[in-house]
Structure formats: C-alpha cells, structure tokens
C-alpha cells in the first residue's frame, strides 16, 4: 500500500492546520514535500520498491528488502570563544538485501532511479548467487507479518528548525561558563544532530516509513599546569539522547559547565588513589557504559554463534546457559527495550520490519534471553525475533545491533546517600572515561571523569588516576545496592561500533545509582 503524505502526517500526529502555514512547518515536513516534488520527477519510493521486489522475486530469492533512506546531519564545534566548524551533510540512497539459496546478497547506490534499482537489485542477487555455489550452511529467515505503518520518534523541537546562531550562542555560553573557573585552560564543546528518514519495503509486503531525531551534545574542559607539564580533563556527565532541541533547553547545561570547570582544576590537585579493593558507588553517568560493554554486547546472539568472531568477538554466554547462569545478584535485572521514549535505539520497527519490543535479558540475577533478529530466530531459545536488525546507512547491510539495555531500579526509593552510608572504604565515580573489555566480555577496565573517596559512610576528598578491573559475572554478583526510580538516568553512545565493515549504532542505557563490593582498583598513573 502506498503511504501518502496525508496518511503519514496523520499518523505522525501533525495538525492539519499547520500544513496551511508553510513558513511554520517543521523542516521534516518540508523535506517530505521536497521528496514528493522529487517523486513527481521520478523518485517514487513505493514504485521503486515494487521494481526491486518484483525483480528479486523473479530471480528466485526467498526474501528481499529495499531501504530507501535519507540521513541528515548537522554539527557545530567550538573551542573557548571561537567556532571551529559549522557543517551540514546529507546522504540519500538505497540498498537491496536478498536471500538466495540461503546466501545473503547486498548492493546499494546513491543513484535512486528505476534503472539503478533494477541494476542494483540484479547485482545483489548476482553476489548471492556466486557465493551460494560455495555455501555450506543455508541461512534461514523467520517469517514476519506484513506491516504498513509510519512512525516518528518522540521529540518536541526539531533541532534542524533551530537557528544556527542560537546553537552557537548556546555553545559559546557554555565555554564562557567553564572558563570562569580559575585554572581552566581550554574548553571544547559541540552539538551534533541526526535525522533519519527511513523507508523499508520487503517481500513480506511491508511498507514502513520512519522519522527519527537524535541529539548529541559534547563538552570537554582541560586544565593545564604549565610549570609541571601536568594536565587533566573533565567531560560532561550528560550524554546523547533520543530527543530534539528541548534537551538543550531543559537540562541544566550551565551547571554542567560550571562543575566541569571546577572538577578539571581540582583534578590537578587531587590525591592519587592507592591501588586495592574498594566498594564502588557508581553514578548512572558512569554505570551506563559498564552495562553497555558487559551486558549489552555479550547478550547479542550473533556473537554467541561466532558470527562476529573475526572482529567484535564471541561471548562468554552460550545458548545452553539461557535460564541457568547466575549473571548477577538477585537484585539485578536488565531489560532490553526498543520502545523507551528518549532512548537512542528506540524505533517503531527494525530494518527488517519487526515491531519494537521490550523483554528481559537478565531477571533477578539469572540470564534469561538474547537479542535476536529474523536470521537468528532458529538458533534462539525462544524462537523469536525481538527486532534488533539495523543498518547505519542506505549503503550498509542490516545485521543484529544492540537495543537499549537498562538496569531496573530498586522498588524502594533508595538514594545515593542510603547506599554510601554502608560503605567503609569506597570510591564514588561519576562520568564515563577510558573503557576496554575482552572479546568474550569477561575482563574489563573502566575509568571515569571524577572519583571521590568514601570513608565510613561519608563522601570525602577527590581522587585521581582511578580505574577498576573486574570480571563481568563477579562484578554483577557483587552488586548489593540499587537506587530507586528517582536516581534512574539514561546514558548512551551515539556511535557504538560493530561489524565488518564497522557500522555505527546509537544506543541508550538507563540505570539507577548502584553499589558494588570489593572491586579491584588500579592507579593508572604511569609516572609513579
């Protein structure tokens, strides 16, 4: 079924009255109108999809999809009181994926014309056909229901409609605030915005349009002691969100900048940590990254099947451990979720037409389920695709990517202070820093932005040169305290890499503040 502009606007919740006022229209509507104008000149996505699907079927594929996508990016970067770059980019094209005799083929082009769709579809089938001669094990796709839908991510103010000048003044204001602290030497700040306009059609009969907005602010403050040659940096604690420009208006960014300036200078004078075992209190601005690396990646089923063995690696989790392995303590439950508002991996449908869902990966400490796609369904214990298929571009093949993976807060309204008061010798960590984890996700090391000594239930002096090392299941089984809902925050990565060639994925991780007992802490200063 053709998705007309009218039905798209209706499903996206846009008032009809707004359409009568072109100057007030959000840019995405103007883009749709521009796209429609282009369609009149020959770019009709549904017509192109019909061509690709019919050719692929005629050439004998068991499955095919075509994605016709436009990606818009805007980036502004500044340092101190100068603007380093203002840029906009956009990329438009299509990719055709086919499954022929249990073998994938994929080809793509920036030339979005009927002739090129015919040529590229045939190319995708030819790649699959040539490889199928040598194929040992046929890949199978689970069936999926036909979907006809339009979906738009939740945002209040489209960042592409906000003036560049407002954004520049916002960043220079942040820099000025951070530079007010005596001893701050340099400040870098940036804003980047992404808009994805995605169209998917498949041999299931699906036709899906999606419109997605993401916002990524950045701030980094550096304090240099020129006489000793020492320097320290402090990055913002708030990360990217699946929000519009309202994120820049509602979050207290001035306070972020003030605190970053103050922390950067204080880090130069902070006490070096003494290596040893400590109890850790981890703020959500830090813990999201530990969740990403030690929970998000090992629960990807393609890794467990060795499909990513050459680069990202495999996983310490294996299908036979589903429902059995004690992943963490009883208070630890992780939810995978592609429906959560404001989260970066939230969509209406994945890139092979499966609706967004929410499910437990770890429940009350037990590892219970995986992240799956339609070609992983046969190998998954629950024989189900959870809709984790994603491609970062029209020119990239879709494959399993991480949904939002979050730690559930405690039922009680436990605060950070409640967790700290039961710590005799510990460290409180804010912000994400250096991170590294092995290819099966056992052994990890994480730094942070600021570190604070905890002695006898009280937070004390700032520490420096802190990193902790642990083993995934030891770490999560040492978790004996979680904050309540009031401490829950969303962190995330704008550019999580996986695959060959590496593709980028934006993903959020929510969590409350949490306490871990007896974790090994290093001093990272190589000058000692």
């Amino acid at each position: 079924m053709t998705t007309s502009r009218r039905t798209f606007l209706k499903s996206a919740g846009i008032a009809a009255g707004a359409v009568a006022l072109p100057s007030a229209l959000p840019s995405w509507i103007r883009d749709i109108e521009a796209a429609e104008a282009a369609a009149a000149a020959g770019v009709d996505k549904n017509a192109l999809a019909d061509i690709a699907i019919s050719i692929a079927k005629r050439l004998g594929v068991s499955y095919a999809d075509i994605r016709i996508n436009r990606y818009r990016n805007e980036a502004i970067s500044t340092r101190e009181q100068q603007v380093q770059n203002v840029s906009r980019s956009q990329s438009f094209g299509f990719g055709v994926r086919v499954l022929f005799k249990g073998t994938w083929g994929f080809a793509s082009s920036r030339r979005v014309t009927p002739e090129d769709v015919r040529r590229v579809t045939a190319q995708a089938v030819e790649i699959a056909r040539v490889n199928s001669v040598y194929q040992r094990k046929r890949i199978a796709m689970a069936p999926a229901s036909k979907v006809t839908a339009s979906w738009k991510s939740v945002f209040e103010r489209d960042p592409f409609d906000v003036s560049i000048d407002d954004k520049i003044q916002f960043l220079l204001g942040l820099n000025q605030t951070a530079m007010k602290t005596e001893g701050v030497s340099f400040v870098n700040s940036s804003l980047s915005f992404v808009n994805e306009q995605k169209f998917l059609a498949s041999t299931d009969g699906s036709r899906i349009e999606q419109y997605i907005i993401r916002t990524n602010p950045g701030l980094n403050v550096i304090a240099v002691n020129r006489s000793t040659g020492d320097f320290q940096s402090r990055s913002a604690l708030a990360g990217p969100q699946g929000m519009g420009y309202e994120y820049m208006e509602k979050h207290d960014w001035n306070r972020e900048a003030e605190q970053a300036g103050s922390d950067a200078t204080q880090k130069l004078k902070a006490k070096p940590v003494t290596p040893g075992k400590y109890d850790l209190i981890l703020d959500p601005s830090h813990l999201w990254l530990t969740i990403h690396e030690s929970v998000g990646h090992p629960t990807e089923l393609d890794r467990a099947l060795w499909w990513e063995a050459d680069f990202a690696g495999t996983s310490f989790l294996t299908p036979d451990k589903t429902g059995k392995l004690k992943f963490g303590s009883d208070i630890v439950s992780f939810v995978a979720d592609r429906t959560q508002p404001r989260a970066l991996a939230t969509v209406g449908y994945d890139d092979e037409g499966v609706p967004a869902q929410s499910w437990h990966l770890v429940k009350k400490g037990i590892f219970v389920d995986w992240q799956t796609t339609r070609d992983l369904t046969a190998a998954s214990p629950r024989k189900k695709s959870y809709g984790c298929c994603h491609a970062d571009s029209w020119g990239s093949v879709s494959f399993p990517r991480m949904p939002n993976v979050s730690l559930e807060p405690a039922p009680a309204n436990t605060t950070m202070e409640d967790l700290v008061k039961d710590v005799e010798n510990g460290i409180l960590i804010y912000g994400d820093g250096s991170f590294s984890i092995d290819q099966q996700r056992y052994n990890f090391q994480f730094g942070g932005q600021t570190f604070w000594e905890i002695k006898n239930g009280k937070v004390g002096a700032m520490l420096r040169d802190v990193a902790y090392q642990s083993r995934t299941t030891d770490f999560w089984n040492s978790c004996d305290g979680l904050g309540g809902k009031s401490t829950y925050e969303l962190g995330g990565s704008f550019n999580d890499g996986k695959g060959e060639p590496t593709q980028s994925n934006a993903v959020s991780h929510g969590c409350p503040v949490a306490r871990f007992r007896g974790v090994n802490v290093l001093n990272t200063s190589a000058r000692r």
């Binding site: 438009f92 490889n131 560049i164 040659g229």
Partner: protein, 449 residues
C-alpha cells in the same frame, strides 16, 4: 564507477562556479566498495556500495560554513553551495581562517590498482571458499572479512588549486578457532594491489596460530620481557606517525609537552635505532600526494635515531608560531637504523618472556604518557631459554607507548612490513617492525579466547 579526472574536474568547476563567497574549497569523493564476510565456516553478510560525495567549505568575511551531499545533479550542486554560504553568513568569524591554496605542484604516487577497485565477484568467492576449505581441513572454525575499495578524490580552491588522486585497498583477515572454543588464531594483511594480497598465507597463519594455542596455561600477570609481532605493533602504533601534533604539545596537553611550556623536540625520547617517518612515494605503502591541508606531501622524519625531530604544524599553527607548515604525514613508517633481527632470532635471544601476536580493545588511559590499556588476543606464548615453551591465557595490559619505545626498553627491532591494525580492520596501513622489549606491563588475566 569512480569519477575520472575529467568528470571530477567538471564537478569542482561547477561547484566553484556557484560560489559567491570570498573564498572556497570544494571536493568530490567517489568510491567503489565491496566486502564479504564469513563465519562459522560459511558465507554470511556481504555488501557492495557505489557512492560519491561533494563537500563545500566557504568563507564570507572570514566566516566559515560547510556542507556536503551525495546528490550531484546540477540543482543539488547549486543547493549545497548555497547551504554552505547560508551557514557562513550566520557564523562568527573563523579566527583560524587561512586563505585557500593557489595551484600546487604535486608529484604523483602509485597507490591505485584497477584490479582491486573492480574486484571479480567470482574470484573473491573462490578465495574465501579456499580459506574455509583450509579451515575445514584443519578441523578449525573460520571467520573473516574480505574488503576491496577504489577511491577517487578531487579537490579545488577558489584560488586556483586542483588535485585529483586515486587509491585502492584490499584486505583479508581470518580468525580460526578450535571447535571447542579453547583456542584461537588470527592473521590480517592488506595491500593496494589485490595481486599482492597473499590469501593462502593469511589462512595458513590463522590456522597455525589456533592449533599452536591449544592447551594454554595460566601465567600470573606482571612485567614480562616481550616480543611483539608486526601485527601487535600495528595494533598499538597503527596511527603513530599521525600523533605528533605541534599545537597540542605547545599547549601543554601532549606526551611531547615539556614542563615550562616547552616541547620535547630535540630530545632523545626513544631508542636510538628508532626512526618514524612519512614517505608518500614508498612502493609498499604509498601515501597520498597531498596532505590534508592540500600542501604537496614530502618525506618527513618525525623521529630520527630516537630523537624527536619534528612536530606537525598545520598551516594556521605554523603561522602563529612563525614556522613552516609540515608537508605530512601521509603514512606511518617505523624503521630501525640498525640491521633488522628476525622473530626467530628474537626468540633465541629470550631467556624468559612472551611472544605476542595481536592486541585488542586498546583505549587511552593517561594521555600525558600515552598510557594505553587493552588485551592480548588470538595467540600468546611463553618463551624460556630461547624456545617457545607453551601457549598462555590472555592478559590485560596497561602500557605507556613512550616507555615502550624508550631508550633501554627496546632490545631488538625486526624488518618493517606492511600491516594494518586489527581494530582498524586492515584499513589504517603502516610499515612496522617486530619489537623485542625488556618490559611490558600486564595487569590482570583474561580467560577470553
């Protein structure tokens, strides 16, 4: 299809023809790219992409704006220039603006192979089939990645410069694992010429390492003498020549900064046999003929006989400091000024130490001394009395690059060969040697395979 020089020139002329701004730099990049993955001894995903992107940067009253698009019809070219100019008009003054270059004289490099750019689907399928067949024969489970690309890049300025360059790259990595998952081996090589990629060597080395890594033993973490194969050196130092930025050193935020606002230029901070340089005309590792700023690339030494000889000045920073802008780097070459030592000789000369084949998930920890953390992966062996004794389980390391290459820590240096870092998937090529070092810092154990 890659754009020819004539086609690319026509596009840059059209772009510049639309420019009303005071100054402008435009470019067009076209690519043919294809890849094939395999895993669990079968073909998995693959891809082919044809794309072209134009980029425009303009300055109006020293205010800068930039925009890019992959739609290159006449209307889109006009629109992308207009968008860059719109952004420039509302931007503050670019305090680091440097007028774009007039025509430069570039000396050609040979970095392109048509056979790589237009790789045969059938030949690639057969090559991967051969790798999988070798894995099956050795009773290991193979995974890997083959990619081939051809690029054509043209740039032009309002002040009259034009440059057109083509390059290509082919790479193959293979990971072999024993079916019980207890052992793993890896090998990666790349070249600009598909005819120079030794597919059989990649497969055989990955399989050999997997088989020779069986029954790995646990060793305590700590400081060990170590031999780093070229792949391990590439994983740590794959972008080394690109890290000698003068501005960050002058600003006091680099390992090459010195107390009192100075830099370490002129100091012998590395072993006296170590040379780090960039050479656009190296036959095995050709670089581009132009630097990122558009200047003609030249051979430059960053480190000569262990002495930090040059830091890299951008056009802006050179002007600020009264220096000449640096014509590079455009590639990453490390060589010994002494005769090279083979890995076999290094092993024979080791009383006690470790042989390291690959590092993984390397991240910066302390930029003051270029301290990196990461892990060993896919093959690590214990050496005693000049012989490999047995494979060992993986370690996490925390190691300063400056201390790794410091005088007194480097014992032997091998012959440099073309490698790509494994985290860069073979994309960031370098000419790097094996190294035997006195101390390498392992801080914990990893049971990962």
């Amino acid at each position: 299809m890659l754009l020819t020089e004539r086609e690319a020139r026509k596009i840059t002329e059209k772009l510049l023809g639309h420019v009303k701004a005071d100054d402008a730099a435009v470019s067009v990049f076209s690519e043919n790219y294809s890849n094939q993955r395999f895993a669990a001894n079968h073909f998995t995903t693959c891809g082919a992409r044809e794309n072209a992107t134009v980029s425009v940067a303009v300055w109006i009253d020293r205010k800068r704006g930039s925009a890019s698009t992959n739609e290159i019809d006449d209307e889109s070219l006009k629109a992308v220039v207009a968008q860059a100019e719109e952004l420039a008009r509302i931007s503050p003054v670019d305090r680091e603006y440097m007028p774009t270059l007039p025509q430069q004289n570039y000396k050609p490099v040979k970095a392109y192979s048509e056979a790589t750019s237009t790789i045969s689907l059938g030949a690639r399928a057969r090559a991967i089939n051969d790798v999988i067949a070798a894995c099956e024969k050795a009773k290991v489970v193979g995974a890997g990645f083959h990619q081939a690309r051809g690029n054509a890049f043209a740039s032009a300025t309002k002040n009259g410069n034009f440059n057109y360059d083509r390059s290509s790259l082919v790479s193959l990595s293979t990971t072999a694992r024993t079916p019980d998952g207890s052992s793993s081996g890896y090998f990666l090589r790349n070249h600009f010429d598909v005819g120079r990629l030794d597919v059989r060597r990649v497969a055989n080395e990955a399989i050999r390492k997997a088989l020779e890594s069986r029954n790995a033993r646990k060793l305590e973490p700590g400081i060990y003498p170590a031999i780093l194969e070229p792949q391990a050196v590439a994983d740590l130092l794959g972008g080394f020549a690109f890290g000698f930025d003068a501005r960050s050193a002058d600003e006091g935020r680099s390992p090459f900064s010195a107390p009192g606002g100075k830099t370490k230029v002129g100091e012998k901070i590395f072993d006296e046999r170590i040379n780090v340089y960039s050479d656009p005309w190296n036959a095995d590792l050709p670089g581009s003929k132009a630097t990122q700023s558009g200047l003609p690339a030249e051979k430059i030494h960053l480190v000569r006989n262990g002495v930090l000889e040059n830091l890299v000045y951008s056009r802006f920073w050179a002007k600020q400091k009264g220096k000449e802008p640096t014509p590079g780097p455009v590639n990453n070459i490390m060589e010994s000024s002494a005769p090279p030592t083979s890995i076999e000789e290094m092993i024979r000369a080791t009383d006690r130490g470790l042989l390291l084949g690959r590092f993984w998930y390397i991240r910066g920890v302390d930029p003051r001394v270029a301290l990196q953390t990461g892990l060993t992966r896919d093959g690590i062996w214990y050496i005693e009395n000049g012989k490999i004794q047995y494979p060992v389980q993986n370690f996490r390391f925390n190691q300063s690059i400056i201390q790794l290459l410091a005088p007194g820590n480097v014992e032997m240096i091998g012959r440099s060969e073309r490698v790509g870092s494994s985290e860069g998937q073979g994309g960031n090529s370098a000419l790097l040697p094996a190294l035997k070092v006195k101390e390498f810092h392992f801080t914990s154990q990893s049971e990962a395979v």
